[in-house]
């Protein structure tokens, strides 16, 4: 009964969304205030209805109602509660429901908090937002209905894929979708602005908080996915350039570019047309990601045939919104006035460089992701484009970006002083040089480029510190003056500091762990020892244990350093009950200087086990850097001037009451 209720609510949400597309759009055209005001309650009730549908599905999962096909296929009665909850979005139908829920959440947030928006713009934004909802609600109801019943109901479900039964992965999709789908707001604003044919700095001020929020969630969502892959897949890697990962990384790159170009637009009224285009492209890449992940086109274009309806449907949505958006852009963008002028060496100039490199980087990732599919479709030849491709194309493009990153904020708007910026960055250059020499001295056998990579990361981190020190006049003013300045510095400045510092950390972590990782594979019997980067690891033994829904072979390793026991690591192999599948659980000793990472493999005929041991230097810097970027985004978002829904000094539009 509750399930049918949820199904019904989802259908109602579709009807409400259709109304939300049509009525406010006509109202905005006729300047009819009452019609435009329909958008707000419609957006809120759409959220309410989709939330009911989502709760109904969640209820079916929690109570293990196997008369629902989706629950029977993806859940199991013995699963712990948290994974029953996570199971709601751990499958295609449920994750599409989460998709529309988050879409409606953002729409309702604009309706509730966007009180300062001009009425016509708000009506148009919500109308466009609802059109996306219509497309995806139709997709959900027609091709991926989570509420389909199963008769007769099986006695138990098939269970969730065991490697997905993990806390980090349970919350990875919601965060990722908050990011992905959050860019829909930027898209809706862009389309609304194109329909209005008018765009100004205030527009950027409204768009920026939403983009920033989406960017934050996407950042942390990607980081969580990477962290999960690291400890769960048992390969010790943190990024695989897998198409699924690229699908989330491309919108992140474009979204990062959008954040920076919206900044230029807000401050200088320049790059207006480009920013609108970028907003369309960013959300298009999100849709493309959804298409890649959800259509089944991934490893083979032929498997498209497994469920053609879904693939074709999402492709149609992608073409409609991307194509429609770009067509509208082509028609209307020339009517928009070009903005302020600037010299190439200026804050604007550096942000243009940032945009150029990020967007080109996203394009190379796109080529690497789609090329195998295109080739297979055209010639039938199967290829894989792996990490070497991306390291050769994406990597070199990021180097100039990172070099320019600390310089940009040192330049003034309009016309910058390059020599002065260099002078002020002396400390950062010094720090990088020290890092370079130190890494060369410590790891002289490693690849010769790696120390430069670490130095580049240190330079970016130091550059962020220098910028902050400059703004508070550290070193030239008295201490109470410094404290006063530090306190008065806008939160968005601290946000920039954290985000840029986090990027630097990320780079250091990536380079160090890629270049200096230590790997041992050895067959070990109880009592055997191996030495991994100063750790003395002894295999003590192995025992079996029973978990809530699996049996586990737990290996016991005693880890010594300098003669003292520092940890006992227990990597294990689990065999789940449903579906009967094994997973590898790694044993990790985390430390600042790096992780000791152990996994056990197959049993050997002589009673031993194959053991993989890694030392991953500074690998924590990768996720810590991402976390710091996330925090930076949050600090920036809490800035009074940027707060969602409270943009300052908007030019009030001419709202003509039509009565």
């Amino acid at each position: 009964m509750i399930v049918e209720f949820g199904h019904f609510a989802l259908i109602l949400a579709l009807l409400v969304a259709v109304a939300q597309v049509v009525v406010p759009a006509i109202g905005a055209h006729l300047k009819d205030e009452r019609m435009m005001r329909v958008a707000d309650p419609a957006a809120v009730s759409q959220l309410f209805l989709i939330a009911i549908a989502f709760c109904a599905l969640t209820h079916a999962y929690v109570t293990s109602d196997f008369s629902v096909l989706n629950v029977a296929e993806n859940s199991h009665s013995t699963k712990p509660l948290i994974y029953k909850l996570a199971g709601v979005w751990g499958n295609h139908e449920g994750s599409m429901l989460l998709w529309v829920l988050i879409l409606a959440l953002f729409g309702a947030a604009v309706a509730l908090f966007g009180n300062n928006l001009p009425l016509t713009l708000k009506a148009r934004v919500l109308s466009v937002q609802a059109s996306i909802a219509v497309a995806f609600l139709l997709f959900s109801l027609l091709t991926s209905n989570p509420f389909t019943r199963l008769d007769p109901a099986p006695p138990d479900g098939r269970g969730l894929n065991p490697i997905l039964q993990d806390p980090a992965l349970a919350f990875h999709p919601p965060f990722l979708y908050m990011g992905y789908v959050g860019f829909s707001i930027a898209f809706s604003f862009a389309i609304a602005a194109l329909i209005e044919g008018r765009i100004d700095a205030a527009w950027a001020r409204w768009v920026r908080p939403w983009t920033l929020a989406a960017w934050m969630f996407l950042t942390i969502g990607i980081a969580m996915g990477s962290w999960w892959a690291y400890y769960e897949l048992g390969w010790g890697g943190w990024w695989f350039w897998d198409p699924v990962e690229n699908a989330s990384f491309m919108p992140w790159l474009a979204g990062t570019a959008l954040l920076h170009s919206a900044l230029v637009m807000e401050k200088r009224e320049a790059l207006k047309i480009w920013t609108v285009l970028l907003a369309i492209l960013t959300f298009s890449l999100s849709l493309m990601g959804t298409f890649i992940v959800r259509s089944g086109v991934l490893t083979s274009v032929h498997s498209f045939a497994v469920d053609p309806a879904r693939g074709v449907f999402i492709l149609a949505i992608l073409i409609l919104f991307t194509g429609g958006g770009l067509a509208l852009f082509a028609l209307r963008s020339k009517d928009m006035q070009a903005g302020g002028l600037f010299q190439p060496i200026s804050r604007e100039g550096s942000l243009v460089l940032n945009n150029l490199l990020l967007v080109t980087g996203a394009a190379t990732v796109l080529v690497g992701t789609l090329y195998p599919m295109a080739l297979e479709g055209l010639t039938g030849e199967k290829i894989s484009v792996g990490p070497p491709f991306f390291n050769m194309t994406f990597g070199p493009l990021m180097i100039p970006l990172l070099v320019a990153l600390p310089i940009g904020p040192m330049l003034a708007w309009k016309r910058g002083d390059f020599a002065g910026a260099m002078q002020r960055l002396a400390f950062a250059f010094g720090a990088a040089l020290v890092a370079l020499v130190a890494v060369f001295a410590a790891e002289y056998r490693g690849p010769w480029l790696a120390p430069f990579g670490v130095a580049l990361g240190v330079y970016v981190m130091a550059g962020a510190v220098v910028e902050w020190a400059n703004r508070v006049k550290f070193g030239s003013a008295k201490s109470d003056e410094i404290i006063r300045r530090a306190r008065n510095l806008p939160r968005s400045a601290y946000g920039t500091f954290f985000a840029h510092f986090g990027i630097g950390m990320l780079v250091v972590g990536i380079v160090a762990t890629s270049a200096y990782r230590e790997e041992h594979i050895q067959a070990m019997k109880p009592g055997d020892q191996i030495t991994v980067n100063g750790y003395n690891v002894t295999f003590v033994g192995l025992e079996q244990a029973r978990g809530p829904n699996y049996v586990e072979d737990i290996a016991d390793f005693n880890v010594k350093r300098g003669g003292e026991t520092v940890a006992r690591l227990t990597p294990s192999k689990r065999l789940y009950d449903a579906p009967p599948q094994t997973t590898t659980e790694s044993g990790i000793l985390a430390a600042w200087r790096g992780d000791l990472y152990l996994v056990i493999g197959d049993a050997q005929p002589n009673g031993g086990y194959a053991v993989r041991a890694y030392f991953n230097p500074l690998v924590r810097f990768i996720w810590l850097g991402a976390l710091i970027m996330f925090i930076g985004g949050g600090i920036s978002l809490s800035d009074r001037r940027l707060r969602v829904g409270a943009p300052s000094r908007s030019r009030q539009p001419v709202a003509v009451p039509a009565e």
């Binding site: 098939r158 490199l357 290829i383």
Partner: protein
């Protein structure tokens, strides 16, 4: 600088970046892509030794030999032909006899395949999709579990 010159710098910078990216992409596509082959493909097309490829197929029943330390040998078959594979390391969780597998590495001169990685896809399929499709194209009948949506509970 005049307005025209400023625009020139912008456009010039953009075009230069795109050109560099294009060169990088073309260069990388030439050198770093890996072709996927089944055992029959390897015999028919005469893949030269030393070329990096992906070998896909089923792990032949009874062919897996563990033991020599961490080195494992097994045969990959598409039921028409099979290729012996050696691999040193820890096999992924989904590796099983009779199930699909993708190994990356190169052939030595004597028709053996030296794999440096054996892949397990982390989706709910028991068989990597490229393997399933390649095998079906060769007319091999696959049971349940080869395609998503058909994964039955109670699989071994």
């Amino acid at each position: 600088m005049t307005r025209k010159q400023k625009r020139g710098v912008l456009i010039g910078g953009g075009v230069a970046t795109l050109c560099v990216a294009l060169l990088l992409v073309l260069f990388a596509l030439k050198d770093s892509i890996v072709f996927f082959h089944t055992p029959s493909d390897i015999v028919e097309k005469g893949v030269p030794p030393g070329q990096r490829i992906r070998l896909g197929g089923l792990v032949e029943h009874g062919s897996v030999v563990r033991g020599q330390g961490t080195t494992i040998t097994f045969k990959v078959t598409d039921t028409l032909r099979d290729i012996p594979v050696t691999f040193t390391g820890v096999l992924p969780d989904l590796f099983k006899e009779g199930q699909g597998v993708v190994a990356e590495g190169m052939l030595d001169g004597e028709g053996r395949f030296k794999a440096d990685s054996v892949l397990a896809k982390h989706d709910e399929n028991y068989m990597p999709r490229e393997v399933a499709n390649a095998l079906e194209a060769k007319g091999v009948k696959l049971g349940a579990g080869a395609h998503p949506g058909q994964v039955k509970a109670g699989m071994p």
